[in-house]
């Protein structure tokens, strides 16, 4: 495999409602920024790929409009996945293995505020047996949290502590949406939203965008002083039917982690895409993270959750800590689908 690294990362602030700019206006300055930060001229980009979802906007082909932000002239080699940008990054990593191009641009965007996200996500479910019952996204996560609590793998207090810790860490992250010091007792005293989940156990609704530049081998070394090398990247999917899965565990995360070489590697930082507090417990266990790992220094998805972007944000945040020397080795995780159905794991490392 060819050595590929993340050489730059940029994001917009995650906002409850971005009403002034549309997606194109959000993206154009962001892409300019991430390219400039990479030190690589725009014309060297050999492949561009994005992640987004039409259903967030209520418009088919919404990713087509976003292409205006890229300045695709003369025509470019470009692709798109209707998935989180993390999976677009995987496609770019694969493309760079071919050897004919050295640089790829990956971006993701989503305005969850345009619709009712918890209802929009119902359309992800089996359209014959499940979706017509209209189980919204928070209720499904609550099902999983209940299973975890009943199995004795987690407590409501732990969930509140996870929520508080992530938002406290987010105070160092100027792009995060929910930041601050929250008192665990006060959180536990608040009413359930959908039992056993309280509001603090759930992610915010966010509008945002993020972008990453990937470069291979010597091109990465020439671009930045500490490329965030991707040592392993893999993703796996579990069955769709919730009744068939063990909701307390994430076997696809463990499998992807094994394939990516994460298990047994000691990492400094882990950016986990856990939109719900109890899911951090599941993922920590699935990745077998040691007690000294700094989990979600960015504040994670509980602090900012632009749908279709949040996974790419984990990869970018992990990479940024290697790029600036704060970490030597990091694992980043991204998820898709109800209750962690599909998971991507990436191991990154800086040069010694």
């Amino acid at each position: 495999m060819r050595d590929v690294a993340i050489v730059s990362f940029a994001q917009t602030p995650s906002l409850r409602r971005e009403r002034d700019k549309d997606e194109v206006e959000m993206l154009a300055p962001l892409l300019g920024e991430v390219i400039e930060r990479s030190g690589i001229p725009r014309k060297e980009i050999g492949f561009t790929v994005s992640g987004s979802s039409d259903y967030l906007t209520g418009r088919p082909f919404s990713f087509v409009i976003a292409l205006d932000a890229v300045g695709a002239w003369p025509p470019i080699e470009e692709s798109h996945v209707e998935m989180d940008g993390a999976f677009a990054l995987h496609e770019a990593w694969v493309r760079l293995q071919h050897g004919d191009i050295d640089v790829a641009l990956v971006y993701a965007f989503g305005k969850s505020s345009l619709g009712s996200l918890r209802d929009v996500l119902v359309t992800q479910l089996d359209p014959y047996y499940t979706a017509p019952l209209w189980p919204d996204a928070i209720s499904l996560a609550a099902l999983q949290a209940r299973a975890l609590l009943d199995a004795g793998l987690c407590t409501e207090r732990e969930m509140a502590q996870i929520a508080a810790r992530n938002r406290a860490k987010a105070r160092q992250n100027p792009f995060a949406q929910l930041r601050g010091d929250f008192d665990v007792e006060a959180l536990l005293a608040s009413p359930y939203l959908v039992s056993p989940l309280r509001k603090h156990d759930c992610p915010p609704i966010s509008d945002g965008a993020a972008a990453v530049v990937l470069a291979a081998g010597d091109r990465a070394r020439k671009a930045v002083s500490r490329p965030a090398w991707i040592r392993g990247i893999d993703h796996r999917i579990e069955p769709h039917s919730l009744g068939v899965r063990d909701l307390c565990r994430s076997p696809s995360t463990t499998l992807a982690a094994r394939k990516a070489g994460v298990l047994g590697a000691s990492v400094d930082v882990a950016e986990l895409h856990a939109p719900f507090s109890h899911q951090e417990v599941i993922l920590r266990n699935a990745l077998d993270l040691g007690p000294n790992v700094d989990i979600n220094p960015s504040g994670g998805a509980l602090a900012a959750h632009p749908m279709m972007v949040a996974g790419l944000l984990r990869l970018g945040e992990a990479a940024s800590r290697i790029l600036d020397g704060r970490a030597k080795r990091a694992v980043a995780h991204a998820t898709s689908g109800p209750c962690l159905q599909q998971n991507l794991v990436c191991l990154m490392e800086g040069d010694p």
């Binding site: 495999m1 979802s53 470009e78 796996r236």
Partner: protein
């Protein structure tokens, strides 16, 4: 890492207006199982699954890879869903091929589908947005002005579109999977059909179909063990340009020209008209055949219509185009691009049955999407590159 990649299994469903004998899962499985059977493999032999389809609103299911993971044997495997508008079937095959060529996986199942009968495709293509009057009446409404512009530019006689409409439907009669089987198709019936978006008539328009197509792509080592002749991937290319910009040529888009040039270079082709034996290209409205002949470099600009008029693109011509019947005969939108790629592979494997072009060893698969702005193409051959 630049491994060779070959198509070792191909399967498709019988395409029709409404497959109400199958669910979405059943539809994709029908194609997938046929592709696996063709390769004499089972789901267990597959390392990854890449699916592609057009907007989710065509079925009302968001991110259907999540729901379809079980049906496609993807549990425990990597699964990706590609969406590049109308070209998606082609891009999906390319993403799948890239996984093999990068050495990441050995055998990849790729599927493209659309079950348009489950939602309202026309509505999904032109929903009412605020701030503007509802003008567009579906994709035909978007492309009709381009066709008019082409006719004006090229001076093509007005019956060229009808010739394509007849040719492709007659070809489809030889393809048991095709949606439209119109034994009475003729210039008279096409001309008599209603004018939908002037200058495009009803019978010059693609149908709306439910259908799926699947391929098994394999590395060289696994292609060597395959029971039937592989179709070797000799080149793939994708290009995109913005939807609208000042001075954009939508009739002969540069993205298509650049994409074809890159493709031919990879495949070592210097004279496409002579070196390509058969072309499966994305023609949803009949006039796109002459337009794409020019865009693909098969004919000089403004002369693509001559190829049609002279019979060059007929099955008996020197560059048969769409012997399968093409998109004009079968159009599950998300699948249509991959159907072109698969039909090209069928040709060089000698598996195209009654619509086989004798002696075809090099074939082009082509797809486009959006406002004629996304292009994906591949060349497959019977010889290992």
């Amino acid at each position: 890492m630049n491994e060779r990649c070959a198509v070792i299994g191909i399967g498709q469903t019988k395409h029709t207006t409404k497959r109400d004998d199958l669910s979405l899962a059943g539809l994709v499985r029908e194609a997938a199982l046929r592709a696996l059977a063709d390769a004499e493999l089972s789901f267990a032999d597959i390392d990854a699954v890449v699916i592609g389809k057009a907007p989710d609103m065509f079925e009302g299911v968001m991110m259907p890879e999540l729901y379809l993971a079980d049906a496609l044997g993807a549990v425990g495997k990597p699964m990706l869903r590609v969406h590049t508008a109308g070209s998606v079937g082609g891009s999906t095959a390319i993403v799948a091929a890239n996984l093999v060529r990068a050495g990441v996986h050995e055998r990849v199942l790729t599927v493209a589908f659309e079950k348009q009968s489950e939602s309202d495709a026309m509505w999904a293509l032109s929903p009412k947005y605020p701030f503007q009057p509802p003008l567009l009446a579906g994709a035909g409404g978007y492309f009709a002005p381009l066709v008019r512009a082409y006719i004006r530019r090229s001076g093509a006689p007005l019956d060229v579109g009808m010739l394509v409409a007849v040719k492709d439907r007659q070809n489809a009669l030889k393809n048991p999977y095709a949606h439209l089987h119109l034994p009475d198709i003729s210039l008279e019936t096409v001309k008599a059909s209603p004018m939908l978006w002037d200058p495009i008539r009803y019978l010059e328009t693609c149908p709306s179909s439910d259908g799926a197509v699947a391929m098994v792509l394999a590395s060289e080592a696994h292609a060597a063990k395959a029971p039937r002749a592989p179709a070797w991937v000799r080149g793939t290319a994708m290009r995109s340009e913005p939807t609208m910009f000042a001075g954009r040529d939508q009739v002969n888009p540069r993205a298509g020209i650049d994409c074809a040039k890159d493709l031919y270079r990879q495949a070592g082709i210097t004279d496409p008209r002579r070196e390509i034996d058969v072309a499966e290209i994305y023609v949803p409205f009949s006039w796109f055949e002459p337009m794409w002949m020019e865009n693909l470099g098969f004919s000089p600009v403004n002369e693509g219509w001559k190829m049609t008029a002279e019979g060059a693109t007929a099955m008996s011509g020197d560059l048969p185009v769409n012997p399968s019947g093409g998109v004009l005969s079968t159009n599950p939108i998300g699948a249509s691009g991959m159907l072109r790629f698969a039909e090209a592979a069928l040709q060089v494997r000698g598996q195209a049955g009654e619509h086989q072009i004798a002696g075809a060893t090099v074939a082009l698969g082509h797809a486009y999407g959006g406002g004629s702005q996304f292009f994906s193409m591949w060349i497959v051959g019977s010889e290992k590159p």
